[in-house]
C-alpha cells in the first residue's frame, strides 16, 4: 500500500493545516518580543513587555488574577480527579449495574454540551440557590467541568489494568482497602497524574463559564486578559499570552510523558 505521504496534495494540505493552527500562536510569541508599542510593526527584539507584565501598571491586577487562577485550578483539578477516580472505579470495576450506560453518558456529556449553555445554566443555578458569585462559585463550576477531562485518562488507564492484580492482593490476605492502596493505586498513578494535569490546564484556561460565575471584582487570568484587551491590545498581552502558552505546553507534555512512562512500566 502507498504511504499517506504519497497521495497528491498531501504536503500542501498538511502545510496549510499546520499554518492555520500554529501561525497565529507563532505571531503572538514572536511579537511578544517586539520592542515597539505597535502590535503589527516589528521594532526590534526586546524583553520590555515581559518586564512590563511583572512590574508595569497592570502587574498587580495580573498578579492577583494569576494567583486566583492557579489556586482555583489546583483545588478544582484535585477534587475533580478524586471524583473522576471514584467514577472510573465504579464504571470499570463495579461490574454490571443498572444505569451503567446512562452513567457513562452523564460523565462525558459536559464534553459535548456547548460551554455557553453550561455557563448560563450554572449562573442561574447559583443565583437560584442564593449563592453569591465569587471565588467559591468559580471553584464549584470548575470542579464540575473538569471531571470528564480527568475521567478520560484515568478510565483509560484503569481499563488497561487487569483485575487479577487486585485479586492476587486479596488472595494474599490484603483487605479491600489494602489491595487498593498498595496495588491498584500505584498502578493507577500515571493515569491520575495525567488526569489531574489535564483538569488543571482546562481550569486554568477557562474563560466563558468563569466569566459568567465570577461575580464583580473577581478576576482569573483569562478574564483579566480579556478585560485588558477590551481597552485595546497592547504587546504586554502578547507576553502574558506567551507565558500561558508555555505553561500549557509544559503541563500537556508532562501529562503525555507520564502517561507514556506509565504504559511502559505497566505489564
Amino acid at each position: 500500500m502507498k504511504g499517506v505521504r504519497h497521495y497528491p496534495g498531501f504536503l500542501a494540505i498538511t502545510l496549510v493545516c499546520l499554518a492555520v493552527l500554529y501561525v497565529p500562536l507563532l505571531v503572538v510569541a514572536v511579537y511578544s518580543f517586539n520592542a515597539s508599542t505597535s502590535i503589527t510593526k516589528w521594532g526590534g527584539f526586546s524583553l520590555r513587555w515581559y518586564v512590563d507584565v511583572f512590574t508595569g501598571p497592570e502587574a498587580e491586577r495580573f498578579g492577583l488574577a494569576t494567583w486566583n487562577s492557579l489556586t482555583i485550578a489546583l483545588i478544582a483539578a484535585s477534587i475533580a480527579t478524586a471524583v473522576a477516580m471514584s467514577a472510573a472505579l465504579a464504571m470499570i470495576r463495579g461490574g454490571r449495574f443498572r444505569g451503567r450506560g446512562a452513567s457513562y453518558a452523564l460523565i462525558n456529556l459536559p464534553l459535548m454540551v456547548p460551554e455557553m449553555v453550561v455557563a448560563v445554566a450554572t449562573l442561574i443555578f447559583f443565583t437560584t440557590i442564593g449563592l453569591t458569585t465569587g471565588y467559591l462559585t468559580i471553584v464549584l463550576a470548575h470542579i464540575t467541568f473538569c471531571i470528564p477531562f480527568a475521567y478520560l485518562p484515568i478510565a483509560a488507564r484503569l481499563s488497561g489494568i487487569e483485575d487479577s492484580y487486585e485479586q492476587a492482593a486479596r488472595d494474599l490476605y490484603a483487605t479491600r482497602w489494602q489491595a487498593f492502596r498498595l496495588v491498584l493505586l500505584p498502578l493507577l498513578g500515571p493515569g491520575l497524574m495525567s488526569g489531574w494535569l489535564l483538569a488543571f490546564i482546562i481550569s486554568l484556561d477557562d474563560f466563558i463559564i468563569t466569566n459568567f460565575v465570577k461575580g464583580a471584582g473577581m478576576e482569573t487570568l483569562p478574564t483579566a486578559i480579556f478585560g485588558s484587551v477590551k481597552q485595546g491590545i497592547k504587546p504586554n498581552i502578547m507576553a502574558i499570552s506567551s507565558l500561558m502558552l508555555l505553561v500549557s505546553i509544559l503541563f500537556v507534555s508532562l501529562s503525555y510523558i507520564i502517561n507514556r512512562r506509565g504504559r511502559r512500566a505497566a505489564p
Binding site: 487487569e162 487479577s164 492484580y165 485479586q167 492476587a168 492482593a169 486479596r170 488472595d171 494474599l172 490476605y173 490484603a174 483487605t175 479491600r176 489494602q178 489491595a179 498498595l182 496495588v183 500505584p186 498502578l187 512500566a265 505497566a266 505489564p267
Partner: protein, 351 residues
C-alpha cells in the same frame, strides 16, 4: 486420611447459564489434585470459588472442616498462582514474594528472610531485587509460585500456570511442581485442560465436563478404566465401536464384536443392549488371527511410533499404534490385517 478441601454440591449460575451444575469432591490433604477438562467445563470457576473470587450459588466448600463460602478472599488460608501470574509490576521480586507475609503482619526482617528462602526454593535468589518486567516468563512463573507458597497456605490453587510457557519449559516445570508439592507437603489443587500435564503430575484427577465431575481417580484409573464416553475420548486417544452387550454382572460384560466374535471385558455399563466399546490404539497388536479384521488405509509416521489408520469391516475407522522398532513389520496401505486386543484392552462405556 485428612480431607483438605471438601466440596459439597457446589452450584454456580451466571444468569441463565450454569457454570457448575452440582459438584461434590473430596481432596485429600497433602495430595496433588488436578481438575482436568476442556475450556468452559467449570474447572476455573470451581477454583475461583475456593479462592473466594466467585460466590457459590448453592452448596458448601469446607476447608479442613470449616465452611468458607461466606469468607472474604483475604480471610481464606489458600493462595493462588494465577494464569497470567499477576505479579505486582511496581514491586521487586522479593517484595512480591513477601507481600502475603506483610499482609499477615509478619515483621519486615522475618518476612524478608522467609521470602528469601522461598526464592531459594525456586532457584531465583539472584534475581530478588529485579522488577517482574525484567524476568522471563519462566522466571515470573517461579516468582508467582514462591509468592503463593510463602504464607504457607493450607491449599495452593494453581490456575493453568504452565499454559503461557513453551513446551520444553512446561515439561521441566511439571517435574518441579510435583517435587515442590512433595517437599512442602502443601495440598496442590491444579487446574488444566492439558491431559499430559494432568497425567504427569497428579495423585488424583477429577475429569470435568459441562459443569459436572465425570470421573475422579488416579491417572491410571481415568486412562484405563474410563467410566464414560467423554472421559474415554478426552483422555488420550481411543477407538469407539458399537457392540451388542448380552450380559452384565459384577463390572464385567459379555458382548459380541462386529466380527461376530464374543468378548468378555470390564464394564462401566450396567445394562445389556447397544453400548460403546473403547479400545486404546496402543493396546492392539497386528496378527493374522485377530478378533477384528481391518483394511489399512494410511500409515502415519510419528517418530517413536507409527499410526495405522484402518477401517473395520462394517465401515468404522480404527486407529492402531505400533512401536517403531527395527523388527516391526509395517503393513502397506490396502493390506487386510487382523487385530488382536490385548488382555484388558477393551472397556465397555456407560453412555
Amino acid at each position: 486420611m485428612d480431607v483438605a478441601v471438601s466440596i459439597r454440591n457446589a452450584v454456580k449460575r451466571y444468569g441463565a447459564t450454569t457454570a457448575l451444575a452440582g459438584v461434590s469432591l473430596d481432596i485429600t490433604n497433602n495430595a496433588f489434585f488436578t481438575l482436568l477438562g476442556p475450556s468452559g467445563c467449570g474447572k476455573t470457576t470451581l477454583l475461583r470459588m475456593i479462592a473466594g473470587f466467585e460466590a457459590a450459588s448453592e452448596g458448601e466448600i469446607l476447608l479442613f472442616g470449616q465452611n468458607i463460602v461466606d469468607l472474604e478472599p483475604h480471610l481464606r488460608p489458600v493462595n493462588t498462582v494465577f494464569q497470567n501470574y499477576a505479579l505486582f509490576p511496581h514491586m521487586s521480586v522479593i517484595d512480591n514474594v513477601a507481600f502475603g507475609l506483610r499482609m499477615k503482619g509478619v515483621e519486615i526482617a522475618a518476612r524478608r528472610a522467609k521470602a528469601g528462602r522461598m526464592l531459594e526454593l525456586v532457584h531465583l535468589s539472584a534475581l530478588a531485587d529485579r522488577l517482574p518486567s525484567q524476568l522471563s516468563g519462566g522466571q515470573q512463573q517461579r516468582v508467582a509460585l514462591a509468592r503463593a507458597l510463602a504464607p504457607e497456605p493450607k491449599v495452593l490453587l494453581l490456575d493453568e500456570p504452565l499454559s503461557a510457557l513453551d513446551l520444553k519449559l512446561r515439561q521441566a516445570m511439571r517435574v518441579e511442581l510435583k517435587q515442590l508439592q512433595e517437599e512442602t507437603g502443601i495440598t496442590f489443587l491444579f487446574v488444566t485442560h492439558d491431559q499430559d500435564e494432568a497425567l504427569a503430575m497428579s495423585d488424583r484427577i477429577a475429569v470435568m465436563s459441562q459443569g459436572l465431575v465425570q470421573q475422579v481417580g488416579t491417572a491410571r484409573d481415568i486412562y484405563e478404566v474410563p467410566v464414560n464416553r467423554f472421559v474415554a475420548e478426552f483422555i488420550g486417544e481411543t477407538n469407539l465401536i458399537d457392540v451388542e452387550v448380552t450380559r452384565v454382572s459384577d463390572g464385567m460384560a459379555d458382548l459380541v464384536l462386529p466380527s461376530g466374535q464374543r468378548l468378555r471385558c470390564s464394564s462401566a455399563a450396567t445394562a445389556t443392549g447397544r453400548h460403546a466399546l473403547s479400545i486404546r490404539p496402543e493396546r492392539v497388536t497386528v496378527t493374522p488371527d485377530g478378533q477384528l479384521t481391518a483394511t489399512v488405509e494410511r500409515v502415519v509416521y510419528m517418530g517413536s511410533d507409527l499410526r495405522l489408520l484402518t477401517r473395520l469391516e462394517g465401515g468404522r475407522e480404527f486407529t492402531v499404534r505400533i512401536q517403531n522398532a527395527a523388527r516391526t513389520a509395517v503393513p502397506e496401505p490396502g493390506a487386510r490385517i487382523g487385530l488382536k486386543l490385548e488382555e484388558g484392552a477393551a472397556r465397555l462405556l456407560a453412555d
